[in-house]
Amino acid sequence: MTAGPFALSKNKDVQERHSVLQADGTIATGAQPRMEEEFLLEALRWMMKSRLYDTRVISLQRQGQFGVFSPGMGQEASIVGSAMALDPTRDWIVPQYRELMATVHHGLPLEIITAQYLGKIGPARIPDGVRVLPTQVSIAAQLPQATGLAWGLRLRGEDAVVMAYIGEGGSSEGDFHEALNLAGVTKSPIVFFLQNNQWAISTSRRVQSATASFAFRAAGYGFPGVQVDGNDVMAVYDVAVAAVERARKGEGPTLIESVTYRMSFHNTTDNPSRYEDPKEHEEARTRDPIERVQKYLTGLGLWDKKREAALTEELTQENEAALQLAFAAPAPVPADVFANVYDHPPQRVVQQEAELLDGRRD
């Protein structure tokens, strides 16, 4: 272990997995985390908020009150640690769809992203000034766009970095390779944050690629790739900060493979009992990203059951308030079918809108 905080290696194409806070809640020998206790408490707050939100909306979905949803359970350290490395006043997040709390951390109000899952239209619009793109269900399609965004922000003279999310499954898509290649060539200020949660619906990481590490892929595009323990928020933050700093200095992209585990399911339509080995799941549980932070803080005298209960209550209230706002937001109206498709719609589309709305106005 080198002295000093984590730094991207100048000598290696791919760096070995970075680890700080181990599964048992102890700090790895020689590790010098950037995150201090106050900040770690904030990270814990966001991770718990994410877990509580997921738990609540899965329950709502089971009651038929919520749309199809992909929880971030088990991946909270990846989602939160990466977002905390960004400056929401200048940096951008380009999500896939399993990073909800990263976008909320970046300034997207929870009730707005919640409204999207409830099928709301106007109330689900990302507010001006919030530097977040819409969630992307067409896997990896967001990556060429993210590269273009980062490239364009630099051309505009902005001091901005783009954090683009993808999974290990998405890294098999052509768009992944085209986007990373173009980012390397243009030296765009972008961080590709690959969450390797071991599963693409039912497709195991072993089937997805013969590569030993998804971080290796960066070498083919001429920029660093680094692996990190994705259940270790302190390590994720270290690596993300180093990559963001590198991008901001104009040194180009970084690929981060954040090795984690999907502790729930692909989405609420999925049933992992059909394909997941229960032993593998149980083993992953022992590496829970939230519990290890709580253990560590307990050791420092900064955490106990009483504090956990109080924070749980507070976060539950916060989440509930956002859910209530989202439920109360106006339902879509037929005209929303045509809203915001074109700046100048073709005449035929205008006529079709009139046809739909004719007789429907009260």
Binding site: R125, P144, L149
Partner: protein, 325 residues
């Protein structure tokens, strides 16, 4: 007034727009030093620099996807896809992504992106270069589809495309790139979308076409004139938006219509034009609407393309048949 070919008109439009708007940039394969495979961007990298005229890696999806991202950052990208048939490798970034982005973002973001792509047969290109796939994009709403047929329109429609906040697929007729010069003024002017041009007026029949097929229809009209048949030729200019009013008025006037396009016949945009005429002016028609397209087989080897593409003889034959019914 200056006389320009389509290649020169496009080059002139790009140069003037880049001069007046510093956010406009070009990207694509070989658009820099080479000036594009058809030389439409000749001289632009020397004039505006490699940051604004960018030779990209050979990867269509990222050229288009990155253009979307560049637009989100506030740039005004004009991407070149070397041949329209090559959009297949970036199709998902055009229809599903560019076309839907504004709606998906609830209007927060728009994508001011122009994709230029030469297409069409008649120049003995290798495989996959000539495919007329414009109708595929009519089925991906959100994209405007522009099909200039002459130098004046090429400049005016291109400037309209670059300035339109909506994404535009701008298909260039490579067969006509250097086929002739026409008056193309210096300085900015635009040709609005959704306004078809009546390029020739006649009494007996209305020929409807776009892009290079307009030139074929004009030749057919010349030949028919020798037989005493006078034909109107309508150039749709843009498929999305479609100028339904001019189309219907011009067909209603003659009562007869032949639609000509280079794409395979079945589900080509001619089918849409024909259906529109049936819905709107059925009782003004004196004969069934006829279509002349390419055959419903893949574009053949260049040595066979003259048999595959709509020919002067096939257009004239379709007109004679329509006049007899």
């Amino acid at each position: 007034m200056p006389q320009r070919t389509i290649v020169e008109a496009i080059n002139n439009a790009l140069a003037e727009e880049m001069e007046s708007d510093p956010l406009v940039m070009l990207l694509g394969l070989d658009v820099g030093r080479l000036g594009g495979v058809f030389r439409t961007t000749t001289g632009l990298v020397e004039r505006f620099g490699a940051e604004r005229v960018v030779d990209t890696p050979l990867a269509e999806a990222s050229i288009i996807g990155a253009s979307l991202g560049l637009a989100l950052a506030g740039m005004v990208p004009v991407a070149e896809i070397q041949f329209l048939g090559f959009t297949a490798q970036g199709f998902h970034q055009i229809g599903p992504q560019l076309g839907k982005f504004r709606q998906r973002s609830r209007g927060r973001y728009h994508c001011q992106v122009t994709i230029r792509a030469p297409f069409g047969g008649g120049i003995r290109s290798p495989e996959f270069h000539s495919d007329a796939v414009e109708a595929q994009f009519v089925q991906t709403p959100g994209i405007k589809i522009v099909m200039p047929s002459n130098p004046y329109d090429a400049k005016g429609l291109l400037l309209e495309a670059i300035r339109d906040p909506d994404p535009v697929l701008f298909c260039e007729p490579d067969r006509l790139y250097r086929s002739g010069r026409a008056e193309v003024p210096d300085g900015a002017y635009t040709v609005p979308f959704g306004k078809a041009a009546v390029v020739r007026e006649g009494e007996h029949i209305t020929l409807v076409a776009w892009s290079a097929a307009v030139e074929l229809c004009l030749r057919a009209a010349d030949k028919l004139a020798e037989e005493g048949v006078s034909a109107t030729v309508v150039d749709l200019r843009t498929l999305v938006p479609l100028d339904i009013e001019t189309l219907c008025n011009q067909v209603a006037k003659t009562g007869r219509c032949v639609i000509v396009h280079e794409a395979p016949l079945s589900a080509g945009f001619g089918a849409e034009v024909s259906a529109t005429l049936m819905e709107q002016i059925f009782y003004d028609l004196d004969a069934p609407v006829a279509r002349v397209g390419a055959f419903d087989v893949p574009f053949p080897a260049a040595s066979l393309e003259d048999y595959y593409l709509p020919s002067l003889d096939r257009v004239v034959a379709a007109v004679r048949k329509t006049l007899q019914s």
